[in-house]
């Protein structure tokens, strides 16, 4: 059986009845009429020929809207992930935004010679340790400060906010300068080899910290640990936890004293946090704890649309269009802010509010903020 046939079997794509529901919800198909998830499977069955030049597998956002809709539970995102890695083996050049800078950064982090400086965001007022029960996985969030400097947002603020929240509940999280990129972007752009190297390094680092729980502010990182690392490495020996879950736990245990905020906000579900990990309620409960009013967008929870790019793969005209549509939707709720829980969603949306589309400024003009940062304001 060829690798592709195996993939079709394993992901359940074999069960597809060509009902077309996936296409009806796919945000790429909505804009690009030539794109249809189902047809990618049909084309794949024709064999490996042309796989290296196949464009559609790179256009998919792996957002999981189709998975969620499919009556036969076809795991389409995993199918695309597998196809990309096959395509690369057959000579495809992955389509990556920023010229592949982020993937290069990930590969560089596999080098045993590297002496990183990844904790430069840790200011004196933050308490962190080398060891502890709770390890805080920071991933590449602080690196985005520089990669996207022109967007004038500091994603490292998410990390600072998370540590402040933990500190105020009496937790000193372990962090490590030897941690590396989780490998999410490499894994989703067809580079399993370097992905596995990164995984090994991270698991070693966390083991050395002695942590029983690993907290994430980045849903991509969390997804990668929860599914992809476990797939390869089996039981990780620690629990994987989202910051919103931790915050709610701490409030429950009366460990986190906080003030109330006012105002009206809306929440964008990141695909990795929502459809991939199934975490919809915790972020909402956490936001409600701040005292702010939460209003929902027309398409929310599992119907949430996409920020337009994932794994720093393709960023094209349709990505921009999706961002604009989403921002308009957020604006329509009357909220003063759109919160999200993913550094990349934040960056992607910011790209569209950032003086890029003359004439649309007013329609998309809504401040975007990370929900961890938003919550940390209740501590002030």
């Amino acid at each position: 059986m060829s690798a592709i046939d195996e993939l079709i079997e394993d992901t359940g794509a074999f069960d597809c009845v060509e009902c077309g529901k996936c296409t009806s919800v796919c945000p790429v198909a909505e804009i690009n009429s030539e794109f249809a998830p189902r047809l990618i499977v049909v084309k794949a069955q024709a064999g490996l020929e042309g796989l290296a030049k196949e464009k559609d597998i790179w256009s998919c956002l792996t957002c999981g809207l189709c998975n969620d809709m499919c009556p036969y539970k076809v795991d389409f995102t995993e199918f695309i992930r597998g196809m990309r890695s096959e395509a690369v083996i057959h000579g495809a050049l992955p389509v990556c935004s920023k010229g592949g800078l982020l993937q290069t950064m990930g590969r560089i982090m596999t080098s045993p010679e590297l002496k990183q400086n990844r904790l430069s965001w840790v200011t004196d007022d933050l308490k962190v340790a080398e060891k502890g029960d709770i390890y805080f996985f920071t991933g590449c969030t602080a690196h985005f400060d520089y990669i996207f400097e022109e967007r004038e947002i500091k994603t490292s603020g998410i990390l600072v906010a998370a540590v402040k929240i933990m500190n105020s509940a009496g937790i000193t999280p372990a962090v490590s300068n030897d941690e590396v990129c989780c490998g999410h972007d490499l894994n989703w752009t067809g580079n399993e080899e370097h992905f596995e190297k990164l995984m090994e390094k991270n698991l070693e680092v966390i083991k050395a910290s002695g942590a029983k729980q690993v907290v994430f502010t980045c849903p991509e990182g969390m997804r990668t640990f929860e599914f992809d690392y476990k797939d390869i490495a089996g039981d990780l020996g620690f629990e994987v936890l989202h910051i919103s879950e931790l915050i709610l736990d701490l409030i429950d245990q009366d460990k986190l004293q906080h003030k109330d905020l006012d105002g009206k906000v809306t929440f964008h579900d990141p695909c990795r946090l929502g459809r991939h990990l199934g975490i919809y309620d915790d972020p909402r409960d956490m936001i409600k704890e701040t005292g702010a009013e939460l209003v929902e967008m027309e398409r929310s929870r599992n119907k949430s649309t996409c920020c337009g790019v994932s794994a720093f793969a393709t960023c094209e005209a349709s990505s921009k269009q999706m961002q604009i549509e989403r921002l308009k939707e957020a604006k329509k709720t009357g909220a003063q802010k759109m919160l999200t829980f993913c550094p990349k969603c934040w960056l992607h949306f910011k790209c569209s509010t950032w003086k890029k589309f003359p004439g649309l400024e007013e329609e998309v003009d809504i401040p975007i903020e990370d929900a961890t940062i938003f919550f940390s304001k209740t501590l002030e």
Binding site: G100, L101, N117, S120, A142, H143, E149
Partner: protein
Amino acid sequence: MAGEASTKPPADSEHHEAQTPPPGEPINLIAFCCNWCSYAGADLAGVSRLQYPPNVKIIRVMCTGRIEPEFLLHAFELGIDGVLVCGCHIGDCHYISGNEKAEVRINTLKKLMDMIGIDSRRLRLEWVSASEGTRFAETVKDFKEQIEKLGKNKIYIAQS
């Protein structure tokens, strides 16, 4: 360096430490030169028979504004010891402001490099006009000496 904030990473001294390359292991440099000024400057150095280190390989680009940060980081990934970017003096770019954009990008990339753990002194931006053959030769010489002090870039990621 990224953030004066007192940070906890292991002393940086290690990666800034001088390691003269072992004999037989030459320094590998790349110079990206824009077509209109710096490449002509490098050419002038050549036709004027100025001596400069043979360790440098020149890549001609239309403008420094064409150089994506990815090109530079990728060079370090492949074990290049130092990358020089040469463009027209500010105000002279043939595409008006390509060099200004390059300057912003390179300054940002340097901060990222330090965070990743590649000494940002391995990347240098210089303005060299078409008439500055001597300046080109001097720049390469000086850069090579600086990189020699920093030692070899030990990162090498095989591309499969």
